[in-house]
Amino acid sequence: MIESDTFCQALQDIGFDFFTGVPDVLLAGIIETLIERRLYTPAVREDEAVAMAAGAFMAGKVPAVLMANAGLGNSLNTLASLNLLYRQPCLLLIAWRGFDGKDAPEHLVMGRTLPQLLETVRIPHRTLSEQTAPDDVRWIAQTFMKERIPVALLLKSGVVRGIQP
């Protein structure tokens, strides 16, 4: 399992310096680390978070947004008509609830369709794993600025350590 400290440091090392979003339990360890590092600005909705990220980017920051895949539903129009259209890149760290059909029922439809949803709106994505983590981070850094659009890193349960010891 990747330690959330290591993960956040890797993102900081490639330049990310503004983090916002809406929590999911899978992201709790990462968010706790970001709060400790005074890097996290809570949002109340995921569309607000991606819009704040666009503002932050225009103000010179390198933004990342944390959300559950439910939040992708909340933010899809803003991603399409703001972040993609105006070419405002951000990293979307998306907790993949309902992966493999194993989760509470409310996550199953979004869990099943997450990759296709991203592909339909042409947001490049990868799924983080402990084995490929350095490569995943390198891919984020390259794709982010080259394409100048949002890129998504999907986080399944148990890949980054949560807050429980």
Partner: protein
């Protein structure tokens, strides 16, 4: 009471180099016609998100006053952002709501701002300065005052439903963003 375009003009005449984020629909189109400047960001889609974009700018440019020109329908759609602004309390955030009490750009259907007091919601959310004005001279007085003091501030401006004959903003969206980014750097 003045038209929305006149209110936009009054605000744009009072700013110097401050970033201004304009909500989607006719407000952006009228702002472009009244006074285009590179420090203007014209939102075309993402209804309800102008204040969130402005907040992202304000938090990361604390030395610049950031102005959001919003609509009542937009504010109602992105109502949660009033809470985010009220909680984070960016001192450099000025939220001007052009309230014609309709979805003007959607065909003039009445909005709930007729009965729901958006300025009181902002006050309850934690905005520091909140004012409501009707006349142009009051708008000028209050906006000047807000430019000079710590916020977050919200100025609710009651405007008429009048619409100018204005085209879509003729700039490509990516260019709007890029010149805005450079202008406020």
């Amino acid at each position: 009471m003045q038209s929305r375009a006149r209110a936009i003009q009054a605000v744009l005449e009072l700013v110097s180099d401050q970033p201004v984020i304009v909500c989607n629909g006719f407000p952006s189109r009228e702002a472009f016609k009244v006074k285009d400047r590179p420090e203007n960001f014209y939102m075309t889609g993402s209804m309800g998100m102008a204040a969130a974009i402005g907040l992202g700018v304000a938090l990361n440019k604390p030395q610049k006053k950031v102005v959001v020109l919003d609509g009542d329908g937009n504010v109602l759609m992105g109502l949660g952002t009033l809470a985010t602004v009220g909680a984070l309390k960016p001192k450099n955030f000025i939220h001007v709501v052009l309230d014609n009490e309709v979805y003007g750009s959607g065909g003039n259907q009445p909005s709930y701002s007729r009965v729901v007091k958006l300025d009181q919601i902002a006050k309850a959310a934690g905005y520091v300065n909140v004012e409501r004005v009707r006349e142009r001279e009051d708008l000028v007085y209050e906006f000047k005052d807000m430019l000079g003091k710590d916020g977050p501030s919200l100025l609710l401006v009651k405007v008429t439903e009048q619409v100018e004959d204005v085209p879509w903003v003729p700039l490509p969206p990516a260019q709007i963003a890029e010149r805005f980014r450079k202008a406020i750097a």
